[in-house]
């Protein structure tokens, strides 16, 4: 740093100081623009304008590199002394995102004005992203010429990141995400955008069957007066009803009968399988303190049935919690505009792809639980995804490179930084 103190600012070769000034200026300018634009969300133009501007940007980078390679500024832009302040600047913005809740309205005027609650769609974020892309692009070109196999790991990491940032930024406006409410035995072709706009889609989906597999329900003990769970700071707040006998709090439970799906007739439960039926169990509870025994039914209830608790004594009751979903899936028949028709099973983590659309299982009517006749599907289209994935795979290869070869030996490639 001592040599740069003697050097005047903006006198070549530039150092961290100029990098910091440029980065800070970008951020300040970005926030100023954000305020000037009235705090609106920034949205890049969609196809084909994003593609055209992307090509122009790449051409600009290559030309800058080809004709101004030796210029002191170009050299500096491709080096760590420009990169580090830029990374710091970007980290600063992401840190703001880490503390301010995103995508919700804020009561704080300043947050709204600066766009801190939707930071990725604000001017400072776009500007820093752009700046980072220039730096990453230039440094990649710099290391590529002359070509040296030693720089392969470097290329994978930097170009991979470049490709990911470049295609996510440009592609963001081409991403379509639509939710579709499908009711059993009905055909649907309209989707809802996040803002509520209804759009007609080139695919029609008929929900043939929606199924939920549930875990066994959990049991716990509550206080009769407060209704709160009495077990605190213990490793067992709940017990899954998947065994015949177990201890819970100060009680020993033995399961007489368990019905995954049942209905109540007078004082008893019977296995039935019709909409609204619910899990129930007849349980023998022994108080381990005084060996007193109580016997009875517990039921978690459903949208159509009252839950039932088993009162053990003056203080405590045993209750059954609603079963948690283990797996939910939709069997659908899909017809596209070009006449393709096929059936598919869509579940969480197992989306289905057709004609550039990916269909995800999103949700269902949680009030009705496993009797829901509604399945909410999400249709996503992201034409830039192959570019993003190429970037991700390059970065993965780069990470493996780092793992195998580690830190570049000093003196190896350092002269080019």
């Amino acid at each position: 740093m001592s040599e740069s103190n003697k050097r005047k600012t903006w006198q070549h070769p530039w150092s961290y100081r100029e990098g910091t000034i440029i980065t800070v200026t970008m951020i300040v300018l970005g926030f100023a623009l954000q305020i000037a634009s009235g705090g609106t969300s920034f949205r890049l133009a969609g196809f084909p304008w994003n593609l055209i501007s992307g090509v122009i940007f790449l051409a600009f980078l290559v030309l800058l590199f080809l004709f101004q390679k030796k210029h002191a500024v170009t050299k500096w832009l491709g080096g760590v002394k420009a990169a580090l302040p830029a990374i710091f600047g970007f980290t600063f913005l992401v840190l703001l995102m880490g503390f301010v809740k995103q995508d919700v309205q804020s009561k704080n005027m300043l947050v709204e004005l600066l766009g801190l609650n939707h930071l990725v769609k604000t001017w400072p974020f776009i500007l820093i992203n752009f700046y980072l892309l220039v730096l990453l692009g230039l440094v990649t070109l710099k290391r590529l010429t002359p070509f040296n196999l030693k720089n392969f790991g470097f290329f994978l990491n930097h170009f991979g990141l470049f490709l990911v940032l470049f295609s996510t930024a440009l592609g963001s406006s081409d991403v379509k995400t639509l939710n579709m409410d499908c009711y059993e035995d009905q055909t649907e072709w309209r989707g809802r955008e996040a803002n509520g706009t209804v759009v007609e889609l080139p695919v029609a989906i008929k929900l043939l069957n929606f199924t939920i597999e549930e875990f066994r329900p959990k049991l716990t003990i509550i206080d009769n007066k407060t209704g709160k769970i009495v077990i605190e700071n213990s490793r067992q707040k709940f017990e899954l009803l998947d065994r015949d006998a177990f201890d819970l709090f100060q009680y020993h439970l033995e399961v007489d009968t368990f019905y995954a799906s049942s209905g109540r007739v007078e004082e008893n439960y019977y296995p039935v399988n019709e909409p609204g039926s619910s899990p129930s169990a007849r349980i023998k509870v022994t108080n381990l303190m005084d060996q007193s025994v109580s016997h009875g039914w517990v039921c978690s209830g459903s949208y159509a049935m009252q839950p039932e608790a088993l009162k053990i004594n003056e203080n405590h009751s045993l209750i059954m919690l609603p079963a948690e979903p283990k797996k939910f899936s939709s069997e659908v028949s899909i017809v596209t505009k070009d006449g393709k028709s096929q059936t598919a099973l869509i579940e969480v983590n197992k989306p289905f792809r057709i004609n550039g659309w990916t269909i995800y299982q999103l949700g269902y009517n949680t009030k009705m639980g496993r009797w829901s006749d509604l399945s909410v599907l999400q249709l996503v289209r992201d034409p830039w995804l192959p570019a993003v994935y190429t970037g991700i795979f390059l970065m993965m290869a780069g990470a493996i490179f780092l793992f195998i070869f580690g830190k570049p030996k000093s003196g190896g490639t350092e002269h080019v930084a």
Partner: protein, 264 residues
């Protein structure tokens, strides 16, 4: 299964304590070997516990904070040992074992829930590699920060050598490669599960910040190879961010309702 945890954890802690003591006070080669053997056994005891737990709960034991602490203790002790075999630094293995013991003690004092349910979004082949790679990265980077913190304090007592920083570099490069893989596995998984590879969910945001901090360290080291102390400071700060990402996010108001928050 967690009911047996105190037994396994106590055995592991005793073995590691004995190992640390031997490492610190022994000079002979045989005793050092014995110490290494004891610490290996401690790690194996925990590994056996994790495998049994995995079988008992029918799901990968990677969903709760306590479960991740368990993995961390295993990896950290393993990394400490590996670096001992590689570089013969006794102090690093002692620090790693101490830190691993600390994590186990936290688990002993914070009884774990014994919850077998696993939400559908987490039922994916990506779950195990994503979490394991991440915790392994955390353990490597944790070890690198131990090197850094030691160096910051020991340095004041005099001579600087370049050995510690090289070790920190090695650990960071290894850790960073795993961190990158974990992050990217997460992105690929997110695309399969939620339709988008990156949604700036609070955990993602903090994971990205963590990644950026180590990126800063790597670039700074590259350009300013002689400024050891500043580099060590960056490394120490990066670990603070890492801890926020791992535990702190659970308590941040900005992260309520995040899918990534480990259950307590």
């Amino acid at each position: 299964m967690w009911l047996n945890f105190p037994v396994f954890a106590s055995v592991a802690i005793l073995l590691w304590m004995a190992a640390t003591g031997l490492f610190l006070f022994s000079a002979s080669k045989i005793l050092n070997r014995l110490a290494a053997g004891l610490s290996v056994s401690g790690t194996l005891v925990l590994l056996v516990f994790v495998i049994m737990l995995w079988q008992a709960i029918d799901r990968p034991p990677m969903r709760t904070l306590g479960e991740t602490r368990l993995w961390y203790a295993i990896f950290l002790s393993g990394i400490g040992l590996a670096s001992y075999f590689r570089w013969k630094y006794k102090w690093l293995v002692c620090y790693s074992l101490t830190l691993a013991m600390m994590f186990l003690s936290v688990n002993l004092n914070h009884p774990e829930t014994y919850d077998k349910t696993l939400m559908p979004a987490l039922q994916s082949p990506w779950f195990v590699p994503h979490v394991i790679v991440y915790i392994f990265a955390y353990a490597l980077l944790g070890a690198s920060s131990l090197v850094a913190i030691r160096n910051i304090f020991v340095k004041s007592s005099g001579k600087t050598t370049s050995e510690p920083i090289h070790m920190a570099d090695n650990l960071v490069y290894l850790g960073f490669s795993f961190l990158t893989l974990g992050l990217l596995f997460g992105a690929l998984w997110a695309k399969e599960a939620w339709g988008h590879y990156w949604t700036w969910d609070p955990k993602e945001t903090w994971a990205f910040i963590t990644w950026m901090f180590y990126l800063i360290y790597i670039h700074y080291r590259f350009r300013n190879p002689l400024a050891h102390n500043k580099a060590m400071m960056i490394l120490a700060a990066a670990f603070v961010i890492l801890l926020i990402c791992w535990f702190g996010v659970n308590y941040l108001p900005s992260a309520q309702n995040s899918i990534h928050v480990y259950t307590e």
